[in-house]
């Protein structure tokens, strides 16, 4: 069991969002007093500040009253739910998705991600992973005994494109990569891939026969009227493409645990087989809440986007006012990836001290790539005023411990 032990040592969860209650704080060298203020947990969105789509709970209750048909759906999700979701997502992406063969309802987009990767790779397979990108991407590859080939996202280079190193990507593909997995908008930086970047990814994947999994979880929360390019709507597509999306973030339905994957029939069919042994199905009653998705009250999504954009503006202004801090303004979603100046303490200790002295929780940059030792991520889907105050305290703490 030694190899297995090693594998699980690499699958740490201690610094992952939501796990911070368990940290030890005994041996920290503290400077100064605690800064009073309302506790803000930037490791995930606050569904009390931004509530689920109105009427969601009613859809759930209707689902419960449906009884057996809603409780025991096909593994890939109830037929009428898949039909309605495939219509909405076909319209959203300007493609045509078959409800029968090209779509699966999963327990959150996390479930979709695991099923997609479990259906595409096996021991020793090479997987191209963007750095920085969502922390679970690398962990899933570890668990499945794949090999990570990192590809840089130079997100600070320009504001015209996300900054994916396309030369490095092609080298990786040439080198035998089987799957390219990335999030767009990127988590943690909130940048959107340009039309040119997306087109090139599609062409390279087709040329080198690489399967692509693209996590579009935040694709509905776009700021400043920017353009968003759906990879699945390109003319030239790789044979195996899976797109992942769900209502957990912008729509605040994370507590219901439903997500969607759509794309290549072969892979969707494998994902269904895998879902049968991983969790059977997305919670039957929860599937019913997808009825409210993409059918929000008029103006609801616009309001939500504007509120987040306004929080973003305030936080970015605060950070840009501080010497040595590097941020790129979020283009979509509600993450901000903050590069901080050199500190006298480690990143791990900084995160603990910030929580202890300022009541602020952030996610360390190293979760998104080993080199991000002077970075943290915040999810600014929070009460506006509390978020601003919390970032002011964060800046004070950085000042206290900077070199």
């Amino acid at each position: 069991m030694d190899l297995l032990n090693e594998k699980f040592l690499r699958l740490g969860v201690d610094h992952a969002p939501g796990q911070q209650t368990l940290h030890e704080t005994e041996e920290l060298q503290l400077i100064g007093e605690c800064l009073p203020g309302k506790s803000v947990d930037f490791s995930h969105g606050d569904v009390n500040a931004f509530e689920p789509i109105p009427g969601t709970l009613d859809e759930f209750i209707k689902g419960v009253h449906c009884g057996g048909e809603q409780a025991y759906t096909e593994y890939k999700g109830r037929g009428i739910v898949r039909k309605s979701v495939s219509e909405k997502l076909s319209a959203f992406t300007n493609t045509s998705i078959s409800a029968d063969t090209q779509l699966i309802i999963t327990p959150g987009t996390q479930g979709a991600l695991f099923l997609a990767m479990g259906s595409l790779i096996d021991r020793g397979d090479k997987v191209a992973i963007v750095e920085p990108d969502y922390f679970a991407n690398r962990k899933i590859v570890h668990f499945l005994n794949g090999e990570i080939i990192p590809v840089a996202l130079n997100y600070l280079e320009s504001d015209k494109r996300a900054g994916l190193d396309l030369t490095q990507l092609e080298e990786a593909f040439k080198d035998g990569v089987k799957v390219f997995l990335f999030s767009n908008p990127n988590n943690p930086t909130g940048v959107i891939y340009s039309p040119d970047e997306i087109r090139t990814i599609a062409q390279l994947a087709k040329k080198y026969d690489v399967a692509v999994v693209v996590d579009q979880l935040y694709a509905r929360q776009i700021f400043d009227g920017r353009m968003y390019t759906h990879l699945c709507a390109q003319d030239h597509l790789p044979d195996n493409l899976i797109t992942i999306i769900g209502p957990s973030k912008t729509e605040s339905l994370s507590g219901y645990r439903v997500g969607v994957a759509f794309g290549s029939q072969t892979i969707i069919s494998r994902m269904e087989k895998l879902q049968a042994i991983v969790s059977l199905r997305a919670g039957g009653y929860s599937q019913a809440v997808l009825a409210s998705w993409f059918r929000e009250p008029q103006g609801w999504l616009k309001d939500r986007v504007e509120s987040h954009q306004s929080i973003r503006d305030d936080l970015v202004a605060l950070f840009r006012n501080m010497e040595g801090v590097k941020v790129r303004k979020t283009e979509a979603g509600s993450y901000l990836f903050v590069g901080i100046p050199e500190l006298t303490i480690s990143l791990g200790d900084f995160v603990k001290i910030l929580r202890l002295q300022a009541n602020v929780t952030v996610t360390p940059g190293t979760e998104f790539g080993p080199q991000f030792t002077k970075h943290f991520r915040i999810n600014f889907s929070q009460d506006h005023h509390a978020a601003v105050e919390a970032i002011k305290r964060t800046i004070q703490i950085i000042e206290r411990y900077r070199k």
Copy 2:
């Protein structure tokens, strides 16, 4: 991707419960007319006939109104939920389970099973699997690239014990098996392992350093006042033991997708890491319904057990009245495993014809072990009258096609 393709070919779902809507029925050689009657799907329980614990939906709604704390729990489940569940399960099993380190809330017991096995085995590891036993057990081992070592359950031999071939089990353990996975009560036969069998399993596992995963999903629905022996309550235990249980069956909460695993701290900690990348957590709001579990209204469980026992008696009497049918009376749970006489058609065709001509869905025996080609499983948690009528039609169909 060829090896992967082969792997997924073995992970079929077409004959699994709930997937039957997709079968082709074109080339069947039909004898006689259709038998009219209310459609009964014996592949899973009918939650319209046996409804969820009263008050469950209210607990869910309370969970939603809790907001963020209930939506975003720790990966292993919300602290107060784990505490209450660990107290209830400690009392039920007469053991002491730490809510902090020895228990995890999962998306159904299926989720628990996958996480436990994913935490215990890797490519090439040998896993002892009972035949017959729950179909997903073998599929999980396939997916994880383990090797199955079958151990026979001679369930028709005696009604004093389940019938596990303990000599074969010890041989398998000697041969280097890393994990022994089994369900008690057994799915599909509904037999309970005797105290002596459980004690021997524990002792052998300890002696040969084998980890044990025991799926006790139906351990609360015991008929005829029989004794049930909890492996986790034995004096001599293997170092790594995981017990799985949940409210999906007897309590009809399957639509909420919550289950529980408890046991060895090392394995529970791995399961939490794995859950973080497989599905993040059991649905936050759904975790709240565990409040109603083990706190059912007075007499509720007794009534439920008696109703099922009474259906069992009627169905067993019908089957025993037919020549060539072999059944052992269910001792716990709501499955009956039926051995049928030689037919002129294959088992696969029989299952399709039964559905087509009699409106009755059953699960083919081959899902529970390759040798069970003259068997099917029914879940008799159904409307009593409809179930009796459906079995009468089933018997007519067997008569039509018997050799």
